[in-house]
Structures are given as structure tokens and as C-alpha cells.
């Protein structure tokens, strides 16, 4: 169980500031929801944490130690949004998952581990020999989760992992996220634009707007009694909240 801490993080691309002085904590063993619309900087913040975006200023640390962005040991892993481009179409599921494992295991040990991980995400271990094209979107997201878990992470960032899925399949992935937190004690930063989904999985919520965190706190409080104007606007825009005229 580990805590992920963002301290005054700024990410700048040329003249554009994507993330502006964000401070955020993901407590050990908790799921923190990060909500915002496009352009809010939530995805950029996630990418900066795993080393896919340059960190202009600030500090991102895991239990006080800066998150390593080079080398084989990566305690911070990420699951991406698009299930159709997050798996290499030419590698089998087993190979994709095994690639993320730390080096130094025998082939047999790797195979056993792959089966254990697939079982953890409720996929048939025999599907380790299948290519991604045979899996549905929901199944691919589970493989992506298994791959993230293969690296033995302490914190996982889930970047809009259900946004591209059919409604009837989304629930299974969300149930899985909750289960993984419960069983593995994983800390998760759950990014989404869908407030109802975030309310379901997260215990804390942070709201981002134009690169800044405008509000954060326990999910129950923020989503029921928001104090910032923008959060109120977001809540009011959820379809179905207003009666039809």
C-alpha cells in the first residue's frame, strides 16, 4: 500500500500550460477520482506521473521517493482509454501481459504468473494464446488491467478506461476495479469525465478545470454539496438530473 503525491506539478508544452500547480494526494489503498472536461489537464497529469509527458516543475513521489521514469522497476502503472489500440495486434494476450513483468523469471514462472493474472481479472487463462482481435472491448480492458498488474505496481492510474465501452460491459470493468482495490490494497487514480462512474468507484474526488484543481475532498461531500461553481455546473449538466420541459 503506497501513497502517490503530486506537489505543485506544472506541465508546459511550449507556451501552453496544460497543468498549472496541481497538488493532489492518492492515499494508500484508496481510489481517488479525477474529473474534468477535455482540456482540463487530467490526462496530462497522469502522463506526467508515468513519464510520458515532461514535468516542467513540481514533484511526483511515491511514499516520499520520486517516481522512477526510467529503468525496469516501475511501481506506477497506467491503463489507457482506447481498448482497440492499447494491445499490440501482433502479440498474443499472454505475451503482452508477460512483457510488463519484471525481468528475471523463468519461462515457466512467467506462464504461471500470466495465468494467475488473467484469473484475477476474470478471464479464461486459456485465452493467453489468443490475439487481441478475438476479444471484445471489455475483455481487452481487463487484459490491459492484467498487464498493469503484471509489473507489480503499488499505484495504478486508470485513464478513462470505461469511456469507450458499451454500457452493458462497463459495469463489469468497474466492479473489477473495486474488487482489485479491496483484494490487493491497490491505490488507484481513476480519471473520468463521467461523474456517476466516479461516484461509484472513488472515495475521494478532485475536480480539474483549465489545468488547476478547483475542488477536492471526500466523494460523498463533493458530489452532493459542491462548493465550487464549476463543480456545480458539471453536476447540473448530467443528463437526467433535470426534468424535461
Amino acid at each position: 500500500m503506497s501513497e502517490l503525491l503530486f506537489e505543485d506539478v506544472t506541465v508546459r508544452y511550449g507556451r501552453t500550460t496544460a497543468v498549472d500547480g496541481v497538488s493532489l494526494a492518492v492515499p494508500a489503498g484508496e481510489i481517488v477520482g479525477l474529473v474534468g472536461e477535455s482540456g482540463s489537464g487530467k490526462s496530462t497529469l497522469a502522463k506526467a506521473a508515468v513519464g510520458l509527458a515532461p514535468l516542467t516543475a513540481g514533484r511526483i513521489s511515491l511514499d516520499g521517493v520520486p517516481v522512477p521514469t526510467r529503468g525496469r522497476h516501475r511501481p506506477l502503472q497506467m491503463v489507457f482509454q482506447d481498448p482497440y489500440s492499447s494491445l499490440d495486434p501482433r502479440m498474443t494476450i499472454g505475451e503482452s501481459v508477460a512483457e510488463a513483468m519484471p525481468p528475471g523469471r523463468s519461462r515457466a514462472a512467467r506462464r504461471t504468473e500470466v495465468e494467475r493474472l488473467l484469473d484475477l481479472v476474470h478471464l479464461d487463462p486459456a485465452s493467453a494464446a489468443a490475439l487481441p482481435s478475438r476479444l471484445s472491448g471489455g475483455q481487452r480492458q481487463r487484459v490491459a488491467l492484467a498487464r498493469a498488474l503484471a509489473a507489480d505496481p503499488r499505484v495504478v492510474i486508470a485513464d478513462e478506461i470505461t469511456s469507450a465501452l458499451d454500457v452493458s460491459i462497463q459495469g463489469a470493468v468497474l466492479n473489477l476495479v473495486r474488487e482489485l482495490r479491496r483484494e490487493l490494497g491497490l491505490s488507484i487514480l481513476f480519471i473520468s469525465h463521467n461523474l456517476a462512474v466516479v461516484r461509484y468507484v472513488a472515495s475521494h474526488v478532485a475536480v480539474m478545470h483549465r489545468g488547476r484543481v478547483v475542488e477536492h475532498g471526500p466523494a460523498a461531500r463533493v458530489l452532493a454539496e459542491p462548493s465550487h461553481e464549476y463543480t456545480r455546473e458539471l453536476l447540473a449538466a448530467i443528463p437526467g438530473r433535470r426534468s424535461r420541459s
Binding site: E37, S38, G51, L52, R70, L76, Q77, F80, Q81, D82, S85, S86, D88, P89, R90, M91, E99, A100, H122, L123, D124, S127, A130, L135, S136, G138, Q139, R142, A144, R147, A150, A151, D166, V167, S168, I169, Q170, G171, A172, L174, N175, L176, R178, N194, L195, A196, R199, Y200, L223, E233, L234, A236, A237, I238, P239, G240, R241, R242, R244, S245
Partner: protein
């Protein structure tokens, strides 16, 4: 892969290419073995002879048979060309993938150098390198090989950049996989196909360049000879013995053709076709069954038994199978479904936008009383252009990026309503203001990329309002938009409906949106309507198990946090593989043998129709262990 290749070989192109290549390669291997002695035989009594008898192409200045020399020269010519291609591919791959390995700054310098090199004409580069490396076969191979490298490197760079941006490469980077391994394991295998095609066609070009260099005297030198060298020797005596130059020339032509055609066949086998063989769906037949019941006058859109057929890998596929509904003036009808339900195709079929390879059939398809199944005429185009407004899902691609917004809107008026350009533009500005785009006059002169996604959708609605539409068809209009922008667009649609009594057909996967905006909801599954009910009844009185499962599966702000989310086991039906009987039976807790054998009809009263043998029956309690282990 083998299947595709054998299919290609059966086409005329593939067959010719394969045969020619086989002949060329056979000659390259066997030629010197069979005819080397004959080609070297000097016969001073028979110098510069005309084609006759024993010498079908005549003899050269030393009495050697030209035809035999041409055949024997195949090996050297082909061998050198292939060697040059290998050099091109290796150098190109190295230069093209280096930016991925060396990091951003050096990578940029390298890309810039390659781009500059591409600007030089290939033959010029070849001549330059030939001077550098010296005259002779080795020098020529290096020259042609390196001259082709910049173009190949550029192609590699572009392909690598495309793949390097994909999520699986990012995931590998996040997992700590090294750059070299990412290149060899993830990037190169996924860009192999276009590169192979280019390399194969490049072989033909290399052959021709080689012949050119040798012809200029820079390539192969005596006593070795390739086709270009034979041409060089033969061109001087072309008025004495034309065959001396024409024979090697013909050989170069045929071999070059063989390589190029082979490259084309490889392209067909590998890349261009995405798999399913397009089985032509039969042409539009005149409708056999006519529905001649009179339409009530306030019905804007009347659809009966709509069916869409598209070609698929194993025969025709019916993504829409028998859809019937009607939309009245001012009414808002929502169509809800998931992937594979056929909802988008229904919208496209109704607006006559299904592509040429698909066929639309219906016993009745009328807009404002006009039959949309009739052949396309100017009158019908005007009807569709002015009485129907369409809003597409992707705001990025629904406008022409090369033209200003105002001009695109004005096109409707100039084309369909006969307005003059200035009046049409003025109306366009007026319509942009009507859809609440601030500063409409300035905005009309802007290009689509200067508009945000929400504004583009509003401009799209504005384009539909250029006429006086009776129906707006919106296919997932807000899926790609933020939730606050979505609210603005939906509010806009509501105000337009209220102001002009315009009907709305809203297609979406989002039940909440449809429930909020529409009066009536049609739920589609596997190409059929399974339930037709008032939107107010969605939450409480839905009767089809799929509708109820769909409502339960969507989390909202009041979902119970202590329970796992409801899910529907299994996955949506693939339109190419629809089971007999009710398509939902495989996922339905109430399904029995009758459901699996017989497809239920859509029955009910005027306000509520259901297609289910167990409509309205209570669903069994959800189990905790509903989370089944899934296999592909």
C-alpha cells in the same frame, strides 16, 4: 495470409506477375549454367550479323550471340538490382527508425537531414555516389542503394511515428521496456506491410536505374556484362543491327514489369484489402409489397419494415432487420442501442446516406409523404436538402476543413433554394446566430478548425436550419462532447423544436440523454426494435428484459454503492452472426426454448410495444457471482 495470397494469384494481375517473376528468377539462376559457353563463343567470321538462323538477335562486334548474352546477363542484372534494394532497405530502416532510438533532439536533426536528402532527385544522387565510389559494379550498387535510401527512410519515419503514438507502445514504455526492444518487438512488425510493398516495387526501380547507369558507362565494366552494358554496346550500332540494342532493352522492360507487377500483387495480398471479400449485393429491385394505407397528415417520417443489407465476409449481412416506426410533427423519438444494434445504419438508411455497396429495402419509407425509395431526382434532393437536417457524430470530420463555415452553410441555399451568393451568405450568418454562436458574422468567415467541437455541432444544426426542416436526424450528436457542452447542444435542439414544431430523431447509446430529451424511445437490439415506449416510462415500466437490464446497468448519482453494478453477461450480437429466434436469448435470464426458436414480433398498443415472449415478467434476483469468467 496464405489464403489471401492464393486468392491474389488467381486474378489476372497476380497470375501474370507470378509467372513473369518465376521466369525471370529461373533465367537468373539457370541462364549462366546453360548458356555461358555459348555467350562467350567468339566468332570473328560473323561480326555484326543481322538476326537470322542460329543467331536470333544477331551478333555483336566480336561475333558473340546477342540473345544468349542477354539471357546470361539476367543473373548479374537481377543480382545487382536486388543487392541495391537490400542496401536501400537497411540504410532506410536505420535512418528512419533512429529518431525513436536516439531521443528527441538528435532525432529531429536526423529527420531534417533525411528530408533534405529526399529533395534531391534519385538519379542525381546515384550519379553523385557513383563518382564518389568509382566506376564499376560495386560502386554502382552502393550508389543506387544509397540513392534510394532517403525516400525509404522518410516512409519508415512516417510509419514509425504513426505507430509510436499508439497506446500499446506507451504501455510498453510505462512498463520500462527498452527503446530497442520496443522498436523490434512493437514498431517494426506493425509497419512491415507497406515497407515490404515499397521494397518490392523498389526492386523494379533499382533495375531500371542500374540499366541506366551501365548505359551511361558508369556501371558494370567489361568483361562482365549486364543489360545496361549490352545496351551501351548496342546503341552505337543500332542502325546496323537494331536487335543489338532492342534485345537488352526488351529484357529490362520485361524484368522491370515483372518486379512492379509482383509488388502490386504483394500489396493486394498484404495490405490494401482489409480482409472481407466484397460480395456485390444485388442491385435495387423494385419493391414487391406495397403498403398502401393512407398516412395521417401529421406524420413526418413513416418507416415500415426497413431492412439494410451490406456485403460481409461470408455473405450478405443484415445489420437492420425489419424496423418499423413513425415520427409525428414536433415529436422527439430516441433510438437507443449498443454497438451492433443497427441504430446508426437506421438513421443513414432513412436519410439515404447508406453507401453504394449497401442496399436499403422497405415496404414504406416516406418523408412528408414523398417516397424515399424512388430513384434519385433533383426534386427529391431538394426535399432532403431543405426539409431534413442531419447532425453527425464526429464534429471533427463533418465539415470540409478547406472551406469556410459560412460558405458551406450558404451552399444549401444556393444549391437548393436558388438564392444568390450574397443572400445565401447573409442567411448563413443569420442561422449561425440562431444557433447561438457568438459574433456570427466573424465566425462565418472562419474555417472549421477554428471552431470548438460544440460550436461545430451547433454550426451543423445551423446548416440544417438553412431550409425549414420538418425533421432533424441526430446520430450521437453529443457523444464526442463534454457534458456541459452537451447540455448546451441539447438545449438548442429543444428550443428549435419548440419554436418551429420540428420533429427530432435522436440516436444514442446514452439512455439518460435519450430519456431526458425525447418523448418516445425505441430500443434496438441486433437490428430490430425490441421495445417502443414513452420516455417517462423508461425507468419504471419498461417490459423487455434488455431494456430493463440496460437501465439497471447505467450508474447514476443514486446508484447503491454497496452493491456490485448490474451487468449483462455476454456481449452484443455481431450482425454477421445473428442466432435464430430472439437475438437476446443468449444473455437473457428469462429465455426458454421458445425464445431460442422463435423471434417474437413487436406487439402492443399505440403507446407501448414490446417484442418479447416474456414481456413484463419479473426478473430473477441478481446473484453476487454473476461475474462469469469470460473467454474470447
Amino acid at each position: 495470409m496464405n489464403r489471401r495470397w492464393s486468392r491474389v494469384v488467381r486474378t489476372p494481375l497476380g497470375l501474370t506477375a507470378t509467372v513473369l517473376m518465376a521466369v525471370v528468377l529461373a533465367l537468373a539462376v539457370l541462364g549462366p549454367l546453360l548458356w555461358d559457353a555459348g555467350a562467350e563463343a567468339v566468332d570473328t567470321d560473323n561480326i555484326m550479323a543481322q538476326p537470322a538462323g542460329a543467331h536470333l538477335a544477331g551478333t555483336d562486334s566480336l561475333g558473340r550471340d546477342i540473345l544468349l548474352r542477354v539471357l546470361v546477363a539476367t543473373r548479374l542484372s537481377i543480382g545487382l538490382a536486388l543487392l541495391a534494394v537490400v542496401i536501400t532497405v537497411v540504410a532506410g530502416l536505420l535512418l528512419g527508425s533512429a529518431p525513436l532510438l536516439v531521443g528527441r533532439r538528435f532525432g529531429r536533426l536526423l529527420s531534417a537531414a533525411v528530408n533534405v536528402a529526399v529533395a534531391f532527385p534519385g538519379l542525381l544522387l546515384a550519379l553523385f555516389f557513383a563518382v564518389v565510389f568509382g566506376v564499376g559494379a560495386t560502386g554502382a550498387v552502393m550508389a543506387i542503394g544509397l540513392a534510394g535510401a532517403p525516400a525509404f527512410a522518410r516512409l519508415t519515419q512516417t510509419l514509425v511515428a504513426g505507430v509510436a503514438a499508439r497506446d500499446y507502445v506507451s504501455a510498453a514504455r510505462v512498463a520500462g521496456v527498452g527503446r530497442a526492444r520496443i522498436l523490434f518487438r512493437h514498431v517494426l512488425p506493425n509497419i512491415a506491410e507497406p515497407l515490404v510493398v515499397n521494397a518490392t516495387i523498389g526492386a523494379g526501380t533499382a533495375l531500371l536505374s542500374f540499366a541506366g547507369l551501365s548505359f551511361l558507362g558508369l556501371g558494370v565494366q567489361s568483361p562482365s556484362y549486364d543489360w545496361g552494358r549490352l545496351l551501351y554496346d548496342g546503341i552505337g550500332v543500332i542502325y546496323v543491327n537494331a536487335a543489338a540494342a532492342l534485345a537488352p532493352g526488351a529484357a529490362v522492360l520485361l524484368a522491370g514489369l515483372a518486379f512492379n507487377l509482383f509488388g502490386e500483387s504483394v500489396a493486394k495480398a498484404l495490405g490494401v484489402s482489409t480482409g472481407p471479400r466484397v460480395v456485390r449485393v444485388g442491385g435495387a429491385e423494385p419493391p414487391v409489397v406495397e403498403d398502401t394505407r393512407a398516412t395521417p397528415s401529421d406524420v413526418v417520417l413513416d418507416v415500415r419494415d426497413l431492412e439494410v443489407v451490406v456485403p460481409g465476409q461470408h455473405g450478405p449481412v443484415r445489420p437492420v432487420r425489419g424496423v418499423s416506426f413513425a415520427v409525428r410533427r414536433g415529436e422527439a423519438v430516441g433510438i437507443v442501442g449498443e454497438s451492433g444494434s443497427g441504430k446508426s445504419l437506421t438513421a443513414l438508411a432513412v436519410t439515404r446516406l447508406v453507401g453504394d455497396d449497401g442496399r436499403v429495402d422497405a415496404t414504406r419509407l416516406e418523408l412528408l409523404g414523398h417516397d424515399l425509395r424512388a430513384p434519385d431526382t433533383a426534386v427529391r434532393q431538394r426535399l432532403l436538402g431543405t426539409s431534413l437536417a442531419m447532425v453527425f457524430q464526429d464534429p471533427m470530420t463533418s465539415f470540409n476543413p478547406g472551406r469556410r463555415i459560412g460558405g458551406q452553410l450558404a451552399e444549401v441555399a444556393t444549391h437548393h433554394q436558388g438564392m444568390r451568393r450574397r443572400a445565401a451568405l447573409a442567411r448563413a450568418v443569420d442561422r449561425l446566430a440562431a444557433v447561438r454562436i457568438p459574433d456570427a458574422a466573424t465566425r462565418a468567415r472562419q474555417y472549421p478548425h477554428e471552431f470548438s467541437g460544440g460550436m461545430r455541432q451547433r454550426a451543423m444544426i445551423g446548416m440544417g436550419l438553412m431550409g425549414s426542416p420538418a425533421l432533424i436526424v441526430a446520430d450521437e450528436p453529443t457523444t464526442a462532447l463534454d457534458v456541459t457542452v452537451q447540455q448546451q447542444v441539447l438545449d438548442l435542439l429543444a428550443s428549435i423544436r419548440a419554436a418551429d414544431d420540428v420533429a427530432l430523431m435522436l440516436i444514442s447509446h446514452d439512455v439518460a440523454v435519450v430519456g431526458e430529451v425525447c418523448d418516445r424511445v425505441l430500443v434496438m437490439y441486433a437490428g430490430r426494435i425490441v421495445e417502443d415506449l414513452p420516455a417517462a416510462d423508461l425507468a419504471g415500466s419498461a417490459r423487455h428484459p434488455y431494456t430493463r437490464a440496460l437501465i439497471d446497468a447505467v450508474p447514476d448519482m443514486t446508484t447503491d454503492l454497496t452493491e456490485p453494478l448490474a451487468t449483462i453477461p455476454g456481449r452484443p450480437v455481431d450482425p454477421a452472426d445473428v442466432p435464430p429466434g430472439c437475438a437476446y436469448a443468449a444473455r437473457c435470464p428469462l429465455a426458454d426454448d421458445r425464445c431460442r426458436a422463435l423471434d417474437p414480433e413487436l406487439t402492443g398498443d399505440a403507446t407501448h410495444r414490446v417484442a418479447c415472449w416474456h414481456a413484463g415478467e419479473p426478473l430473477p434476483a441478481r446473484h453476487e457471482t454473476d461475474e462469469l469468467v469470460e473467454s474470447p
